[in-house]
Amino acid sequence: MQELFQQLANGIAWGSIYALIALGYTMVYGILRLINFAHGDVYMVGAFAAYYIASATGAGGAGASLPMALLVLLGAMLACALLGMLIELLAYRPVRRSSRITALITAIGVSLFLENFGLRVFGADPKFFPQLIPPKRIMLAGGVMVTNHQITVVVVSILLMVALTLFIQRTKTGKAMRAVAFHRDAASLMGIPVNRIITITFAIGSALAAAAGVLVGLTNPKIEPLMGIMPGIKAFVAAVLGGIGSVPGAVIGGLVMGVSEYLVVGYISSTYRDAIAFVILILVLLIRPAGLLGRNVAEKV
């Protein structure tokens, strides 16, 4: 029983990472109907941005402190927000009116570019992510052992998700985002600056991915340029599972993905850990393509 709780606790911590990344996928898909393949790689760039900022400011190891850690986090989020906006402007905007396949291939191209550019510029060797917060073991009820890092991950994720939800529901820009997601042309006719809204969406989504990257660097302090591939794919599955286009759906999807991965490893087999994401994906798409919380997006003509 203790083992079950341990797996659940770890699954929730890890699932929060998927949730953060999934949010970016779901927002971009909601607004552009585009699967942003490059999103996982933006997460990777976020981790590296934090790495370089921390190295430059001495925020890791001996210089570790909460303000410095926040600085690194915000710096990385800003850097990736800019990256996301740049990608949208240069690669996705020109193909916005083209077919879906064209856009998808473009996204694959951007993803490949980021990965290989990263290999070139950052180097293929794994890097040690500086310890922004010193690690500590914490024993929870029921004999479950977690670390302060995992708790940080869950707390920060929750804060960011709440902030995002408030932003989307309560602000004018958020309302504009919802409008563009609902019907782009109608929103444009209502005077909403569609291009600007799309840019903002990319910026926010990329910033969240960067936050995920920093949090992962915090808990598992090894980063390398190809680290975004698998989490990117799994986070996408999470977004689909929760209902692509739905923000709370992405959160739930992420948590469910994290927990299922852990349960599969714990009770079935560890060799199929990666495959489980795809099995879930296929099952969801066959049984309930709209996902858990999604609207009925598929046209059924």
Partner: protein, 397 residues
Amino acid sequence: MIRSLRPWWLALALVLLLGLPTGCAKKSNEIVIGEYGSLTGTTATFGISSKNGIELYLDNLNAAGGVGGTKVKVIVEDDQSKPEEAATAVNKLVDQDGVIAVLGEVASSRSMAAAPICQQSGVPMISPSSTNPKVTEIGDYIFRVCFIDPFQGQMIAKFAKEKLGLTKAAVFRDIKNDYSVGLANYFTDAYHALGGTIVADEAYSEGDQDFKAQLTVIKSKKPQVLIVPGYYTEVGLIARQAREMGLDVPMVGGDGWVSDKLIEIGQDALNGCYHVNHYWEEDPNPAIQKFVTEYKSRYNAKPDGLAALAYDAAGVLTSALDRLRTEDPAAFKALLGPRNEAQKAARAKLRDRIASTKDYPGVTGRITLDAARNAVKPAVFVGIKNGKYEFVAAVEP
């Protein structure tokens, strides 16, 4: 039909035209060898390490005049971490560039793809770190300077069971990596044969960041020792996460752990762990210290196990070349010449010299090649305490 096939021929013609010039230029006062490795792709970090090791050795050698005054040139080809590309790269090196010997590869699967080509063309191939026993079984032109999995698996099993006295082990292997899978299998067999029990056998994938799910399962089976026959790229994280979960048993690994990144990432989590090493970093042997210092100043990192093995592979090859030069100058001369029967015979003689390598003083140990063309050298076990290595045992083969 002909009209519609025309572009096909055009593209081919283009390739042939572009390809011809590169094949013809060949100075006859240099030894030309080939190197293939994964300079891009998922295992790029290992390919680059190997390339650095070879480069360092050959640059030093050439600076000192080369092999008896003849410089050695190395043509490096990338195989993108793919087995079929490894074969294509070696085809190019052997058939297009006319190299007289080949160094490579790290991954056994890629060595397996390329070795038949070397064997068939009579070009000696030395693998720095492929550990699958099948590689050298392909033919008598294929050699290696590293341990093979059966040997290392046996040594780790003996170490865990007899030196550490632990009878219940958990194995945590990298399911995507042939080195890890092979080593895990041989360890398991040897450990059973020694009377130990494997209480858990879990898997991860190279590139994974998170291992807590599997570690939870392993912890619940209460092993006395955790065997992780993988690469340092994941081991550091595995150790940290194991300790974070309260799994405090010692971990034991193979030579894939060898890298300064291991302790950089794993830090205190690795205290009380052991692994096979080729050399003992603090070994006062001046050759080793020189290697480590030069590598660090040139490549901004301490050499990992793969760089050290590649360094020795280059050394074994060039020392064999040197012996050929002194013992059979005519054959050595033929190696510098064009690809003809004389060169083929000379390559066969080079192969014999490589095969007779005995007590070569490498940075990874005194290397002797046995009848199966595998390296015979003692395995050194090092332990980690307070973030530093300490010598624990040397196991003679």
